[in-house]
């Protein structure tokens, strides 16, 4: 494969409403995950690991933290003279969507010039709420060998909870997609991971046709009607691949990172997940610290007890503090003798000395960004 033959497109704001507390000041793409990542790191790394050298990120709102995170794209090797990383903010075109796109289709309409000016033969479109390490190179080879017009990555598993928007695929033994449906009830099915590979010209034509007919949906108005006319294939993803679908799933998916098998699937040496790097010291475990079954990032200073938890960069757990079944984002502080359990602490939040932040397995509590309790 010529490394520059695929253009990458990522939607930064997908289903932001599903994580209301965490996306108040950020896009879905920049939601922190697994101790040092942001959700977009997965799709960005999937693309660059397949040699994709030009990626456009379609943004809608709250994208400051995203821009801060991706910067020039250097960490993903996307700081290129030719191609590289493009942030594509809303563009008022005077169409039906007043610039701020409401559907995936209109997200693409808004970047039509970017799509047209690109020179790559193919396009891969991804959402930023999918946590998976997908071999897009293999998906591409599969697409070309089978002479497919469209290839959609999918997995077999339980449908995400809050998603009646996830495409459920009926796939025959040759992996041809026979139908695309939306189910109301949750079930074990083949469902889309919202990674779609098509020829660029083909995509532009389908978009133009759909828009001319006043259509609005990528899945209902382009993919489903195409089933009759074109060859649409499925590319099955094995191993860990999940879609973020709400606060509980945010908590649960993070906690799955404590499973060594999951970590090996997601963070393998052949296809690393890249992220912005920082200059924190290694984590420091002080005398008397007690840490079990936890994922700990650089820069943490731990004097207390940490169990079944995920600590992002520079988290401080002071003497006598107990942290259990919790997720503490960057620069969080747990004061002396404080107690945190079944909780998510957003960035730079503090539980003061002796204070408590306790949820339950059924009801995870969230301490919002820069907030403080106790003291």
């Amino acid at each position: 494969m010529r490394s520059n033959s695929i253009l990458g497109i990522i939607y930064a704001n997908v289903h932001d409403d599903l994580l209301p507390g965490l996306t108040e000041k950020r896009s879905m793409a920049s939601v922190p995950f697994a101790g040092r990542y942001r959700l977009i790191d997965f799709s960005l790394s999937n693309l660059t690991n397949a040699g994709v050298s030009q990626v456009g990120i379609i943004t809608k709102q709250n994208y400051q933290s995203l821009m801060d995170h991706v910067g020039s794209g250097r960490e993903w090797d996307l700081d290129r003279k030719s191609g590289g990383l493009f942030i594509l903010p809303p563009f008022v075109s005077g169409g039906i969507d007043d610039g701020v796109y409401k559907t995936h289709l209109y997200g693409l309409v808004g970047i039509m010039n970017f799509l047209k000016r690109a020179t790559q033969e193919y396009v891969v479109i991804c959402d930023s709420d999918v946590i998976a390490n997908v071999d897009i190179n293999e998906m591409f080879n599969d697409h070309v060998e089978n002479g497919a017009d469209i290839t959609i990555a999918y997995k077999y598993g339980r449908l995400p909870k809050n998603h009646d928007k996830v495409m459920v695929l009926t796939v025959d033994q040759n992996r041809n997609i026979k139908s695309i449906d939306f189910l109301k009830e949750r079930a074990n099915v083949n469902h889309s991971l919202d990674i779609v590979l098509v020829r660029r010209e083909f995509l532009i034509q389908r978009i133009n046709e759909a828009v001319a007919e006043g259509k609005v949906s990528l899945s209902r108005d382009i993919l489903i009607p195409a089933l009759d006319k074109y060859k649409i294939m499925g590319y099955r993803v094995e191993g860990f691949a999940e879609i973020m679908d709400g606060p509980k799933s945010y908590y649960d998916l993070n906690m799955k990172m404590l499973d060594s098998k999951v970590r090996r699937q997601l963070f393998n040496r052949e296809r690393p997940i890249y992220t912005k790097t920082h200059d924190s010291m290694p984590a420091k475990y002080c005398i008397g610290s007690n840490v079990k079954n936890s994922l700990i990032a650089d820069g943490c200073v731990i004097e207390g007890e940490v169990k079944n938890s995920i600590l992002f960069r520079n988290v401080v757990v002071k003497k006598g503090a107990v942290v259990e079944n919790a997720i503490i984002m960057q620069n969080g502080v747990v004061g002396e003798n404080a107690h945190v359990s079944y909780a998510v602490m957003d960035k730079v939040s503090t539980v003061c000395d002796g204070a408590e932040l306790n949820g339950t397995n059924q009801k995870i509590v969230l301490l919002k960004k820069e907030q403080k309790i106790g003291g």
């Binding site: 697994a34 101790g35 040092r36 250097r74 960490e75 404590l258 060594s260 970590r263 997601l266 963070f267 690393p272 997940i273 890249y274 992220t275 790097t277 200059d279 924190s280 010291m281 290694p282 984590a283 420091k284 475990y285 002080c286 005398i287 008397g288 610290s289 840490v291 079990k292 079954n293 936890s294 994922l295 700990i296 990032a297 650089d298 820069g299 995920i310 600590l311």
Partner: protein, 408 residues
């Protein structure tokens, strides 16, 4: 911090030495590339100090085993030294129209790169080495150099008198004027040790480098030739006192010490403080995982590590694995090393990608030695495999695989 003018000072970092006292640790890499503190290399200190001091033109003089160092420095981006004007430059010896030479000594290395310095036409040249762990604001030293009108200013720090015979000692007047330099004096007159950090007024330095090169008897070395020559000629030489943490990491024991100093709460060494960060090139590794069976205390652990065993008073570099039932104490475990089940590592430096197999015992407690001189840190070199139940004694320096059950 004082503010330097553009191109006012060029830093020349001497990174060509082998660091032979580090033994197997510098067999394949130059000393400045030796890992330190979990995620750093020694060279991160002078480079970060330069950029934090506002010096953004840095020449790195390489000669011995430069490949890993070249890779590590790269474009200088992690230190913010990939600049349109200046930035970081690797300067190996090169072929000239009338033949070429290896760098004969520290002064000759700079002499051979006079054109590099002239390109920027600086007023001052800062000479640094890549063997110390310290945070220092060079701009303050340059300011002192300007204020005293010195031709050369040498950074010094007080050392205990009994240790002074190990250092180059500066004998000074009350105002800091250096009147004598003694290399490793048996009976030191002063306890001001040279830190190997020099600021020269460039015109003066250039003159002495050219004259030194003409002298066939010279070692072409700063300490042995240039500094004494300048003193003899009556040039104005000033000592600049530095206070704070500074450690030479030229020997196995001092490297081990300097790493474990990071765990000493009294020293409070913080390498990521907002006002003076030490930068490094880091990889793309997931956070460290501490398992249910782990016991970790008083240690530094880096990205990508997996710890299921017992860890006390140690520094784990990136991607290290400590399996369940293994014990690591008072040791440095460098990137990619694996300590298998039931192995016991103590008072040791385990280099990159070493594999210590099940039940092996590395290093010994100094208390087992009535005569402290018989004891030493055990060092396992790059990529060595230590067989099951093998024993590596104190002070051993291992560069070849150790067989199962073998005692070395």
């Amino acid at each position: 911090m004082s503010v330097l003018k553009k191109n006012e000072c060029v830093a020349m970092l001497l990174a060509g030495g082998q660091g032979s006292r580090l033994g197997v640790l510098t067999q394949k890499i130059a000393k400045p590339a030796v890992p330190y503190g979990g995620k750093y290399r020694i060279i991160d200190f002078p480079l970060s100090n330069c950029v934090n001091s506002g010096i953004d033109i840095v020449g790195i003089l390489t000669q011995y085993q430069p490949l890993e160092l070249n890779d590590y420095v790269g474009s200088g981006k992690p230190w913010d030294l990939d600049r349109i004007n200046g930035g970081v430059h690797i300067l190996p010896p090169y072929q000239k129209s009338k033949g070429g030479d290896w760098y004969k000594g520290t002064a000759n290395a700079i002499y051979q790169n006079i054109h590099f310095i002239e390109k920027y036409d600086p007023e001052y040249v800062l000479v640094l080495s890549g063997d110390h762990i310290y945070k220092m604001d060079y701009s303050e030293m340059i300011k002192a150099h300007k204020e005293t009108g010195a031709d050369c200013t040498i950074a010094v720090m007080e050392v205990p008198f009994e240790e002074a015979p190990r250092f180059g000692i500066m004998n000074t007047e009350d105002d800091g004027t250096i009147y004598e330099f003694e290399e490793k004096p048996a009976n030191p007159k002063s306890n001001l040790a040279s830190m190997g950090i020099y600021v020269f007024t460039w015109d003066k330095m250039r003159e002495y480098l050219i004259n030194d090169e003409k002298n066939k008897a010279s070692h072409n070395d700063f300490g042995k030739d240039i500094i004494p020559a300048m003193l003899n000629a009556g040039e104005k030489m000033m000592a600049y006192r530095f206070e704070g943490y500074w450690k030479d990491v030229g020997t196995v024991e001092s490297l081990w010490d300097a790493n474990l100093d990071l765990l000493n709460p009294n020293l409070g060494l913080k390498l990521d403080s907002a006002d003076w960060k030490i930068y490094s090139r880091t990889g793309w590794l997931p956070p460290q995982f501490i398992s249910e069976t782990a016991q970790v205390e008083n240690s530094l652990v880096s990205d990508g590590c997996f710890v299921a065993g017992k860890l006390d008073y140690s520094v784990l570099f990136e991607n290290v694995t400590i399996e369940e039932g293994a014990t690591v104490e008072y040791s440095l475990i460098m990137p990619g090393a694996v300590i298998k089940k039931g192995a016991h590592v103590q008072y040791a430096i385990v280099a990159e990608n070493v594999k210590v197999n099940e039940g092996a015992v590395i290093g010994e407690n100094p208390q087992a030695y009535p005569n402290r001189d018989d004891w030493g840190i055990a060092v396992i070199g790059d990529s060595v495999k230590v067989g099951k139940k093998a024993t590596v004694k104190a002070k051993a320096m291992i560069s070849k695989n150790v067989k199962e059950g073998e005692i070395v």
